[in-house]
């Protein structure tokens, strides 16, 4: 039996480590929000993020007061930081959706302790992303009638054949479904916080958020169905949102953009960037809040593997881009490839990109690096930079050499491009810090289903575990109020 256990640990490692019971899991996670004093490092981190977020506020005010001329955009580089940052942020969100939806449907137990904050990351990243195209219009208060089809006073509709309008629908659908998915998953945990909160005001707010959840069998039944439906809705979104973002480029006829590889290449890049951000967030988080039992070493290794796999797809994309340029024998495409890789003034950005996204991840083939938190964190940061550079390379190197040499120009970002980008990073971390403080960072009730206590039947191997999630009852049931 001992051998069997070892084998099992190797094949299906336990996703909760240490000695835990239902009560200790609940205590451990909910205490972060309710009991423990807010740690000092929280104030430091939140303070810095909040200050940096003010940079965003200032940049936006400056932009609106002066117009988008304060940015470095020019002709022919009409899209620059605004779209680079948009694609970067929206890509980061994708890992959250992948973890919450696709891994749920594939019955991957390791999603359970990371899905909550990965989904929060998705929401906050989408919020940052959405700002850029809106501000790119220069007058965002007018953007509503440029972007949304409604009976406006101009008597016309947006151009439905343009990928820009598809983008509006893709991103707003994505934001809505992600928010619902996150919130529905939070309801049972909000109820736990409501029941455990000593503070009157906390209890009041959590009670509103919990929508009268009592944990009855009927509640659980409906919850399971809703959650599955939302997972089903989110699954195509993982693929569709970034495909449509890639259409912004691929549907145009700019050399280097007009390629069929773009949708899968963008989706893989998004998941790649997203997992890098999940690792950046969860490695410090599990230390600061002593969550190593729930976000285990195995989790980190799995995420490293996903990063390696998606990173290799992205590298294949880079190879194909160059191949397509050569294979097309189209003068402009060939020129663009040469110009992008070695002849043009931005050659350094391309090679920096290959270094960050292509070479750095090769370390993940080796167990030594994959299992080291330090290396995982470092590679994640490098990959995040690399994915930003990827969008820079795609956008700037394709645009700065127009079809007519008389239109050629160089692009260089101005101070307000940088402040706004850095400002959104501050805004993102501000939201993350607030989330960590007020919302359970790990799904309490889902982690409880992973415990041995939840597997009460003798023949564990023959037993369909998914049934347990329905049967499982709430540990502090209130008397029904109707």
């Amino acid at each position: 039996m001992q051998v069997d256990k070892e084998l099992q640990q190797k094949l299906r490692p336990a996703m909760v480590e240490g000695e835990h019971t239902f009560a200790s899991v609940t205590d451990k996670i909910s205490d972060v929000t309710l009991k423990k004093r807010t740690p000092f490092h929280w104030f430091i981190g939140f303070g810095i993020s909040f200050l940096v977020a003010q940079l965003l506020l200032f940049s936006v005010v400056w932009l609106l007061a002066n117009g988008i001329g304060v940015w470095g955009n020019n002709q022919p580089v009409g899209w620059a930081f605004d779209i680079i940052n948009f694609v970067w942020w929206i890509g980061i969100g994708h890992a959250g959706t992948l973890i919450s939806a696709i891994l749920l449907l594939l019955n991957q137990k390791w999603r359970t302790s990371i899905n909550r904050f990965a989904e929060a990351m998705t929401l906050f990243a989408v919020a940052c992303a959405a700002m850029f195209p809106l501000l790119h219009t220069g007058r965002p208060w007018l953007a509503a009638y440029w972007l949304f089809p409604y009976p406006n006073t101009m008597g016309i509709w947006p151009q439905f054949r343009s990928p820009l309008i598809w983008d509006v629908f893709a991103v707003s659908t994505y934001a809505t479904v992600s928010l619902l998915f996150w919130y529905v998953g939070l309801i049972p945990d909000f109820a736990t916080l409501r029941d455990r909160a000593k503070n009157k005001y906390y209890r009041f707010v959590y009670a509103i958020l919990a929508w009268g959840w009592r944990g009855s069998a009927r509640h659980w039944h409906r919850y399971e169905i809703t959650y599955l439906i939302l997972a089903g809705l989110s699954t195509p979104l993982v693929l569709s949102v970034h495909s449509i973002v890639s259409f912004d480029f691929a549907v145009s006829q700019i050399p280097g953009w007009h390629a069929t590889i773009f949708p899968p290449y963008f989706v893989a890049g998004a998941i790649f960037a997203g997992f890098a951000m999940v690792l950046i967030l969860c490695i410090p988080l599990r230390h600061w809040y002593r969550m190593q039992d729930f976000i285990t070493h195995t989790h980190l290794v799995y995420m490293g593997k996903v990063m390696l796999a998606t990173g290799l797809i992205v590298c294949y994309g880079y190879a194909m881009e160059a191949f397509f340029g050569w294979y097309s024998v189209a003068e402009y495409e060939v020129f663009m490839v040469k110009n992008r890789i070695w002849e043009g003034p931005y050659w350094w950005s391309y090679w920096l990109l290959i270094l960050c996204n292509g070479l750095s991840i090769q370390l993940l083939w080796f167990k030594r690096f994959r299992e080291s938190e330090f290396w995982l964190f470092t590679i994640s940061v490098v990959v995040s930079v690399g994915m930003w550079l990827e969008r820079f390379v795609i956008i700037v190197t394709s645009l700065h050499r127009d079809f007519l040499p008389s239109s050629w120009a160089m692009y260089s970002p101005q101070i307000w491009d940088w402040t706004m980008f850095i400002g959104t990073i501050g805004f993102f971390f501000t939201l993350i810090y607030l989330f960590v403080r007020f919302v359970p960072i790990i799904s309490i009730f889902e982690v409880r289903t992973l415990l041995p206590d939840a597997h009460v039947h003798g023949h564990q191997q023959d037993f369909d575990e998914s049934v347990l999630e329905v049967e499982y009852t709430y540990d502090r049931t209130d008397p029904p109020n109707s």
Binding site: Y150, P151, T153, M154, G155, F204, A207, G212, N481
Partner: protein
């Protein structure tokens, strides 16, 4: 443990779910209506002019043709505002001493134009030309309304893009014969649909696609 909310909270929750939809719908409807209101478009708002000039009197009672004053309406983008000399053609003889015409006299003596207030103010980003509309069979009253009944002129239509496009999409609904352009009593129902289609062909009015392309009005 006591309940945080009492039983009525269930109903409040249910009502709030309905109300979010109802309120959002109402707010949206209100927005679409306010956007077309005369408060924002200036429609039906009479403009006070420096001189109490009545179109009702001059057009309706006296029967003066539009082109007597707006001389360039058939040839240029602007219909043209009459100079004080045009007024004085008659008013050097009729009502010459009227206190109402004090300002006109003064303008004539000092050779300084009267500062009329613009009633139909199109945005700068639109290109509008009176002469093409007149040449292709659009009458004055189609856009300006019953000027012969307006003591003080007001804007009859919203001048919003959807109003322009309503005609550019179906010009045949609003065209009339050359002889009726300046007829203030003309009704669009005076012509049969077949006559309109023939008229449209005779005027060589271009297709809907051409008439509604961006650069027709935004150049």
């Amino acid at each position: 443990m006591a309940q945080v909310f009492n039983k009525s909270a269930n109903n409040i929750a249910r009502i709030s779910m309905v109300m979010v939809v109802v309120l959002a719908g109402t707010a949206f409807y209100a927005y679409t209506q306010i956007a077309r209101s005369s408060y924002l478009t200036g429609r039906y708002v009479e403009k006070q002019q420096p001189v109490q000039f009545s179109h009702k009197h001059h057009v309706g009672d006296d029967g003066i043709d539009c082109r007597y004053c707006h001389t360039t309406v058939e040839t240029t983008a602007s219909a043209g505002m009459p100079s004080t000399q045009t007024c004085m053609n008659c008013h050097s003889q009729i009502w010459a001493d009227s206190p109402y015409l004090e300002l006109v006299q003064k303008s004539f003596r000092e050779n300084k134009p009267i500062e009329w207030q613009r009633v139909h103010d199109l945005p700068e980003y639109t290109y509008f030309n009176h002469s093409i509309h007149v040449a292709k069979g659009i009458g004055c009253s189609s856009c300006h309304g019953a000027i012969d009944n307006m003591p003080a002129v007001y804007q009859e239509n919203t001048l919003q893009m959807e109003w322009c496009l309503a005609c550019h999409r179906e010009p045949e609904k609003f065209i009339r014969p050359k002889s009726e352009i300046f007829n203030m009593q003309w009704q669009d129902s005076d012509l049969s649909p077949a006559d309109r289609d023939k008229l449209k062909a005779d005027y060589k009015i271009r297709s809907k696609e051409m008439l509604t392309s961006c650069s027709v009005c935004h150049r």
